[in-house]
């Protein structure tokens, strides 16, 4: 049979149309299946490590440095006198600088100058993780904002991003500033950023963080914030607690009972 030019154009147009429709149908089906997968994926987080700091208990021990000493010894944190070079994992700051929003004009009479223990907040949405160009810092499934010092290139973006000043840069080699070396934990080298790791190396062995174990007043309470019956969650139900700068939306995992 002989095909006319008109028939040929009509046929080829129809087949192109059919092919395009099939592609479109496949794409729509693929997207809808991907959507159902992503909807089912986020399972309720079963572990989110967090800490509650009871400032009423902590205040009783004026001049106590048990938590800081324990942490520094466990993690080979150097003690450097020069404040521009110092490295801190858990440290203290005066109450009024930690919670400026609580000031009502009279509070400083009772609370001014009281040292508040501070550490990395292990935020729910950590800004340091967002800015790290090498993924040297990332958020683990159990909520710990972890650091891989092997990967850190020392750009200090994370330090600029962290609103809590929880991160320190090693401007100098930290080893000479160490009084005692804990052989089981690495030191850091010059040029990397470091911070509190919630003692993930102890958690892996079923132990609590060293600061928690060291506190003579049991002012630091550590546990799983995702478990409603955990120790910190029970405390948070009973007492009024604040986080540091919650308005920034970082979702700190460290709470303070004031």
């Amino acid at each position: 049979m002989k095909i006319t030019r008109k028939d040929f154009l009509r046929l080829s147009g129809l087949s192109f149309l059919a092919g395009g429709a099939m592609e479109a149908a496949r794409a729509i089906a693929g997207r809808s299946s991907a959507a159902t997968e992503s909807q089912s994926a986020p399972v309720a987080q079963s572990v989110r490590w967090g800490m509650v700091v009871d400032l009423r208990r902590c205040q009783k021990e004026k001049g106590c440095t048990a938590c800081t000493d324990a942490c520094d010894a466990a993690h080979n944190v150097p003690r450097i006198a020069d404040p521009q070079h110092q490295v801190k994992w858990i440290w203290t700051q005066p109450y009024e600088t930690v919670f400026p929003f609580i000031q009502d004009g009279y509070a400083e009479q009772s609370d001014a100058g009281i040292p508040v223990p501070l550490m990395c907040n292990h935020c729910a949405s950590p800004p340091c993780v967002r800015v790290c160009p090498t993924q040297a810092t990332w958020k683990r499934a159990d909520g710990i904002v972890m650091m891989d010092w092997h990967r850190c290139i020392g750009c200090r973006y994370c330090m600029a991003a962290c609103p809590y000043g929880s991160r320190s840069f090693n401007w100098v080699d930290p080893r000479p500033a160490l009084a005692h070396l804990n052989p089981d934990f690495p030191t850091r080298s010059k040029g990397v950023v470091e911070k509190c790791n919630f003692c993930e190396e102890r958690l892996a062995n079923g132990l609590k963080p060293s600061c928690v174990d060291a506190c003579p007043q049991k002012a630091l309470v550590f546990g799983n914030l995702a478990d409603p019956n955990s120790e910190p969650r029970q405390l948070l139900r009973q007492r009024f607690a604040v986080q540091r700068e919650p308005e920034l939306g970082t979702g700190p995992s460290v709470y303070y009972l004031v």
Partner: protein, 170 residues
């Protein structure tokens, strides 16, 4: 033909010069070519992987361990023979090996300028005591260090009378 003497003398000198690497060996080169005397662990006879693998690929294993421990939180290593080890440079590797007498000597010999592990990881944590001389690679038990070396290297080793020979190999 008046230049015959000069030409022959020049040729002899030229041949001597280009064959020099084959016949001239200064005294210090002899020491350079000597295999390092590695002190093997006294407390263990088997590493976490076969010797041939460790010799060629210990850096791969260490990098994998680092990745798995730091980033994935996996701290247990099941070895080829079913034994379970802690993935740790300072606890497991240095628990047997002595850094100065094992790692450093071979790295110096191979011209591998030290990896930067030790900038942070504490080598003084080594619980491995300096082993006695009978566990060096000169001993019968130690000869397995030269097993699985490429044949051309074995041939070189065998031809050298003053360095440690690869033991029973022909």
């Amino acid at each position: 033909m008046r230049d015959r003497l000069w030409i022959i003398a020049g040729l002899v000198l030229f041949l001597a010069a280009i064959t020099a690497p084959f016949w001239y060996r200064p005294a210090h080169a002899r020491d350079l070519a000597k295999l390092p005397e590695l002190v093997l662990p006294a407390n263990q006879r088997q590493c976490v992987a076969p010797v041939s693998y460790m010799r060629a690929s210990h850096m791969v294993l260490l990098t994998n361990w680092r990745q798995q421990v730091v980033r994935d939180g996996e701290r247990k290593y099941v070895a080829f023979n079913g034994r379970v080890y802690q993935k740790s440079l300072t606890a497991t590797c240095l628990g047997c090996h002595n850094k100065e007498q094992f790692c450093d000597r071979c790295h110096a010999f191979a011209g591998v300028s030290g990896p930067y592990c030790w900038n942070c990881h504490n080598a003084s944590a080594s619980r491995a005591v300096a082993a006695s001389a009978d566990t060096t690679m000169h001993s019968p038990e130690g000869t397995h260090l030269t097993e699985n070396l490429p044949p051309h290297i074995l041939a070189v080793l065998a031809s050298r009378p003053n360095t440690s020979s690869p033991g029973s190999r022909p």
